[in-house]
């Protein structure tokens, strides 16, 4: 009960602390439906065990309104898991695993603002959840890649079928992955970085 003496408020263990030289951070958001493996992917590449941040949402769905006068509203706690990769002595990459429903995105102010880009993690058994995610990211101008998480019992769809089903523009990269595997998940992030890099060096086609 006593916050000041609470072990939970002690902060990171020594091994989880960033070097004093860490100067700046960047964000990547991993978006996907419940149970698609967002936290698994984040945990596979993170140098710390994934942490959880929570926000309170009012039932009215108004997001992070004032709590004043909220006595009659129902409060719901929404959790978001995240991990961290130290890129070098100065730069840190944070990975946020975020629910696919857009109404949750506003709970964390600035989640997408300033993010390098997003990974949309997809489960081919429940492809329909991904439609709105793809649309919302396109509307917001957040560059993204699609990562198909291969579950053992996933139906084996050709990538072209998934691309067609999601109505995905040709320039958006698609990769398959095993979110449990470190190098596979790392490759997903590499695919995003390569894509972002290509956007900075090539003239963007504005045809779509």
């Amino acid at each position: 009960m006593d916050f000041a003496n609470s072990e939970a408020a002690a902060g990171p263990q020594a091994g989880d602390a960033l070097p004093a030289s860490a100067r700046s951070a960047v964000k990547v958001v991993v978006v996907g439906g419940f149970g698609v493996g967002k936290t698994t992917l984040v945990g596979a590449v993170s140098e710390i065990r994934p942490l959880t941040t929570e926000e309170t949402m009012t039932q009215a769905g108004a997001g992070v309104d004032s709590l004043v006068g909220a006595e009659h509203k129902t409060e719901t706690t929404v959790a978001m898991d995240f991990g961290r990769i130290s890129i070098d002595e100065r730069l840190v990459l944070y990975l946020f695993g975020t629910p696919g429903q857009e109404r949750f995105w506003f709970l964390w102010k600035g989640l997408f603002e300033g993010a390098l880009g997003a990974v949309v993690l997809i489960d081919t058994r429940r492809l329909e959840i991904s439609f709105s995610v793809v649309n919302r990211l396109e509307e917001r101008g957040v560059p993204f890649v699609i990562a198909v998480n291969n579950f053992p019992d996933s139906p084996c769809h050709p990538m072209s079928d998934i691309r067609a089903a999601l109505d995905l523009p040709d320039h958006v990269p698609m990769v398959t992955c095993d979110a449990r595997d470190r190098s596979s998940s790392r490759d997903v992030l590499m695919a995003l970085m390569r894509y972002l890099h290509s956007l900075t060096t090539a003239p963007r086609s504005d045809s779509d």
Partner: protein, 128 residues
């Protein structure tokens, strides 16, 4: 195949972290629901303490100062205290105003990221 729920660092059970629901959050921020000044605090702004907590300091402020002897992002402070990021943002604004913490801003948002930055990230990922 799911990795299951991640560990909750806000405590193994009752009596750890900050409890008490919205009213409690209202109290620790003295009724402010967001930072008064538009201090550009992002989820990944890195926070570093400039000194030790003073006697009589609000426990939440003191806890933040203690855990930020090395750089720590706003969202990690949220995870370790069990407080929402929006609440941590308010608390941090107090500490920034009081000169008790240093902030290290994220790489500025731009239409498209700097290719050099992306190359640095790729180099880092290759080492994983």
């Amino acid at each position: 195949m799911s990795g299951g729920d991640p560990p909750r660092y806000q405590g193994q059970g009752k009596g750890q972290g900050i409890e008490g629901g919205p009213e409690r959050l209202y109290v620790v921020t003295a009724g402010r629901d967001r930072a008064a000044e538009p201090v550009p605090l992002d989820l990944v702004t890195l926070i570093v303490s400039r000194g030790k907590p003073a006697r009589g300091m609000q426990p939440e402020h003191a806890a933040i100062l203690r855990m930020c002897t090395r750089p720590l992002s706003l969202v990690e402070i949220s995870a370790y205290t069990g407080l929402p990021a929006s609440t941590v943002s308010v608390l941090l604004t107090d500490l920034v105003d009081g000169g008790q913490v240093e902030t290290r801003a994220p790489v500025p948002a731009a239409e498209l990221p700097d290719p050099k930055l992306l190359e640095a990230v790729m180099d880092g990922l290759r080492k994983l």
